[in-house]
């Protein structure tokens, strides 16, 4: 891109909010371009010289980040309107000026930091774990075919970034859909030989408000997932499991 030659500058526009109850303001920063820069480096440059384009002194921007290689899930934000990880958003590939905003479907903390506790609480509610008897030596785990592993492994790469909730029309003020990420985790634990013994509890947690029925099949999630997880397959698979489980319940209830 012509505006990003070595030595040139580019503009980053950032939506700032000191606290959840304070007013929103937009700030613009002019940064020096270097090859291979990502959005994280932009935010570090600002922290080193927190002066806006107009020369006004500001404060370093608050943002979440940790691994910087798109495996921890921390640095999700809206970049040019799209939910994605800031570490893998390379300046070279972004339209300028670059626009940074916090995710909108989670409570704001400050600037680009949001609180994604909802997702971790959902993992708790849906019992996304293998209930082992203890950490003492109980011998080998169950055998597993490579075919099952090849289905499970991609699901287990979910980084809980929240981008799939951000893009989902059914996650909004009126609905508390748990989101594709959590449904996909239920699928993962239900396909594990030990996890399958406890599938019913997970499926029941996905019945009712906020559960799988809230998905209206918009299919945005699968397009946005930074890890390429087959989320719509997971939604369909778990939906099938929930229906079968509901029918079983119905028959058992009418013995």
């Amino acid at each position: 891109m012509a505006d990003t030659q070595a030595g040139s500058t580019f503009i980053v526009r950032i939506k700032r909010q000191q606290r959840p109850d304070e007013a929103v303001r937009w700030e613009e920063y002019e940064l020096r371009y270097r090859p291979h820069m990502n959005v994280i480096q932009c935010l570090r440059d600002i922290a080193e010289k927190p002066y806006t384009r107009e020369g006004k002194e500001s404060t370093p921007v608050s943002y979440d980040a940790n691994c910087l290689e798109e495996v921890c899930g921390a640095c999700a934000m809206l970049i040019n309107g799209e939910p994605r990880q800031a570490c893998s958003a390379l300046v070279d590939n972004l339209a300028k000026p670059i626009r940074l905003e916090p995710l909108t479907k989670f409570p704001l903390v400050r600037d680009l930091v949001v609180d994604r506790d909802f997702m971790f609480e959902s993992l708790k509610r849906t019992k996304c774990w293998i209930p082992i008897d203890g950490t003492y030596a109980l011998g080998e785990g169950p055998r597993m075919s490579p075919a099952i592993q090849e289905v499970g492994y991609p699901l287990s790469r979910c980084i809980t970034c929240g981008n799939c909730l951000e893009i989902c029309p059914r996650v909004n003020e009126h609905s508390h859909f748990v989101g594709a990420a959590i449904v996909s985790q239920v699928r993962l634990f239900n396909l594990h030989p030990t996890g399958a013994m406890h599938a019913a509890g997970r499926l029941e947690a996905l019945m009712g408000p906020g559960g799988i029925e809230d998905c209206d099949n918009a299919q945005n999630c699968v397009k946005i997932c930074p890890k390429g997880i087959p989320l719509t397959e997971s939604l369909a698979a778990v939906n099938g499991q929930v229906i079968v489980h509901a029918i079983k319940n119905w028959f058992q209830g009418h013995d």
């Binding site: 606290r19 370093p60 495996v71 903390v109 774990w129 109980l138 075919s145 030990t194």
Partner: protein, 595 residues
């Protein structure tokens, strides 16, 4: 019966395992972490986890794993704990498998194993090339389950500031800061287990995550906990250089057949894939025929330095060599290495299935850390335990690839029950500690914050000081160490320390103020940087990752000993103690031949 209280600081593999074990012993654990524990740095471990399960008919054994680990660490590790770890490793893999880790499988449905550096056996279990992520998630899930049963309480978004130590020198809990409200509070505990990871941020750009600052270790050191073998820093041979961080390209790439090379003709302008086989210099295979590309990391890193800086045979225009997996079939790559190839593709924009990757060594791991005893992961301060990368046992002078995950989990498994035993045996539990002990620590920490927030005359920028520290540490205290340069580094660190006192916070708000937290970490990093440098200066020999051209040989007569740094009246003091070599006799470490 009294109910003891135990705190775990750090939610990576070691901290989570310690937490699970504490809960399993019927004691409620409080787990503190800067980030949601699922985002801890263990998530970045890629290649795998070692255990001599001997599922490939090679005659592997836990003794051979032990021998490889001690030899790879150049005989600096205390041997009994390492032996214990290697013996426990197969059961650890089974446990992780039972927890649901999606390890790669053989056609028979058994765990698959691959080769890693410093061994001739297939000993590394793996889940694609994101093994650390998979293991972290498995332990995170178990802790979430314990949390749902009210056996664990998590404090995510809190950063550890200091231990609360009473007048008898016994630890009685911690002080911590809430990263949202910036509130400082103290939390009483009979015992505290630290699992606070590595210190890559001291070197500026490393393969570590943002939270790996070593700040907690440094704070504890300044409160009287010993710090051992700080000078032993592992530089990983193959990372993608970057301005914000260096991204690891796992040793597993070589374990699966990846080859390291440079063009035979220096300055060859052709693209890597256009250079024919006969015009490539596979220097590791040539120099180390037995181990080839799978020599230990310190050996591979020094070889790359030699090729690039001494022989001037690096790739044109940048200090780099090729790491090549493009000859391996794409479906094998996708099943076994997808996670790392995806990183290369996303951050460099080139598909490594088709073109060789450009890599260069980067700071990766600290073998040194908090001093712990040879049995219980206990530090010298009663009530303080440590496990994982933040402590110094297990790896000696150089860590073998895929041994870190097993040492984290093993350390956590020991530390949890040890802390519980200690807490049960205490004559005076924390409930008898006067409130004033906690209040004075809280006030001391609040005063530090207030001083930083109220300093309006400052001129120094924290990011700039951090960058300069990282540059000088990377330049002088990583791969090659000269005493004159180490002296200069100490002078520079003192200068940075002076400038640190004139820091300008730029953000004086009391809500989610990340600058305040970073500045506190930076102050601690400057102290730990000095510990590392002083250790390197003192140790006049070459051993494992510590390489001094002026002293090119291992010197067992003078230096077969652990460096033990302590903080006495504001000064760093070095002592040395003997290494427990009771199980394996010393021998020369030489990877040019079979050992």
């Amino acid at each position: 019966m009294r109910h003891p209280k135990i705190i775990v600081v750090g939610g990576g593999l070691a901290g989570l395992m310690a937490t699970i074990r504490v809960a399993e012993h019927g004691v409620r654990a409080e787990l503190f972490s800067i980030v949601p524990v699922k985002r801890s740095h263990s998530v970045c471990a890629q290649g795998g986890i070692n255990a001599a399960k001997n599922l490939k008919g090679e005659g592997d054994s836990t003794w051979k794993h032990f021998d490889d680990t001690i030899y790879g660490g150049d005989f600096l590790a205390n041997q009994p704990l390492v032996k214990g770890m290697c013996e426990a490793a197969p059961a650890i893999i089974d446990l992780l498998d039972r927890m649901g880790v999606m390890f790669n499988r053989t056609p028979e449905g058994l765990l698959d194993f691959r080769r890693f550096g410093g061994t001739l056996y297939h000993r590394t279990a793996f889940a694609g090339a994101t093994t650390g992520q998979q293991l972290l998630y498995a332990l995170d899930e178990q802790v979430r389950r314990a949390e749902s049963e009210d056996k664990v309480k998590k404090f995510e978004g809190w950063t550890f500031l200091s231990a609360v130590i009473d007048d008898q020198g016994i630890s009685r809990g911690i002080s911590a800061m809430n990263l949202k409200t910036m509130e400082i509070k103290t939390f009483p505990a009979d015992a505290v287990i630290f699992a606070t990871g590595g210190n890559g941020a001291i070197f500026g750009r490393s393969t570590n995550s943002v939270v790996c600052t070593g700040s907690a270790q440094s704070a504890l050191f300044q409160q009287g906990v010993w710090y051992a073998n700080g000078e032993f820093i592992q530089v990983h041979p193959t990372a993608i250089p970057g301005e914000d961080k260096c991204r690891l390209m796992s040793e597993s790439a070589r374990g699966e057949g990846g080859r390291v090379w440079v063009p035979k003709q220096p300055g060859d302008k052709r693209g890597g894939k256009d250079i024919p086989e006969s015009e490539r210099f596979y220097f590791l295979e040539e120099w180390y025929p037995k181990y080839g590309n799978l020599v230990p990391r310190d050996v591979a890193t020094r070889a790359i330095h030699k090729v690039v800086f001494e022989m001037k045979m690096g790739l044109p225009g940048e200090p780099a060599v090729y790491l090549d997996v493009s000859h391996i079939p794409a479906d094998v790559l996708d099943k076994k290495l997808e996670g790392i190839l995806e990183i290369y593709e996303k951050f460099v924009g080139v598909d490594p299935r088709k073109e060789p990757m450009k890599v260069f060594p980067a700071m990766h791991y600290t073998m040194g850390g908090l001093w712990v005893d040879n049995e219980n992961q206990a530090t010298n301060v009663p009530g303080i335990y440590a496990a994982g990368e933040c402590e110094y046992q297990y790896h000696g002078a150089n860590r073998l690839g895929a041994n870190s995950l097993v040492s984290c989990i093993y350390g956590g498994m020991l530390a949890g029950p040890a802390a519980v035993r200690y807490a049960h045996n205490l004559e005076q539990g924390v409930e008898n500690t006067p409130a004033s002990v906690f209040e004075r620590e809280r006030v001391r920490q609040q005063d530090i914050n207030d001083a930083l927030l109220n300093q309006h005359q400052g001129t120094e920028n924290p990011i700039a000081i951090w960058r300069e520290m990282g540059d000088v540490m990377t330049e002088n205290v990583t791969v090659i160490r000269y005493n004159a340069n180490l002296q200069k580094t100490l002078v520079k660190l003192d200068e940075l320390g002076d400038r640190f006192r004139r820091i300008n916070l730029q953000d004086r708000t009391q809500w989610a103020n990340q600058t305040l937290n970073f500045v506190r970490e930076l102050g601690n990093m400057l102290v730990l940087a000095k510990v590392i440098t002083l250790g390197a200066l003192a140790r006049n020999e070459t051993r494992g990752a510590h390489y001094k051209p002026e002293f090119p040989n291992r010197d067992d007569a003078n230096w077969l000993k652990t460096t033990k740094a302590s903080f006495v009246r504001g000064e760093i003091k070095l002592d040395f103690e003997p290494v427990d070599t009771s199980l394996l006799p010393l021998r020369e470490r030489k990877y040019t031949a079979t050992k």
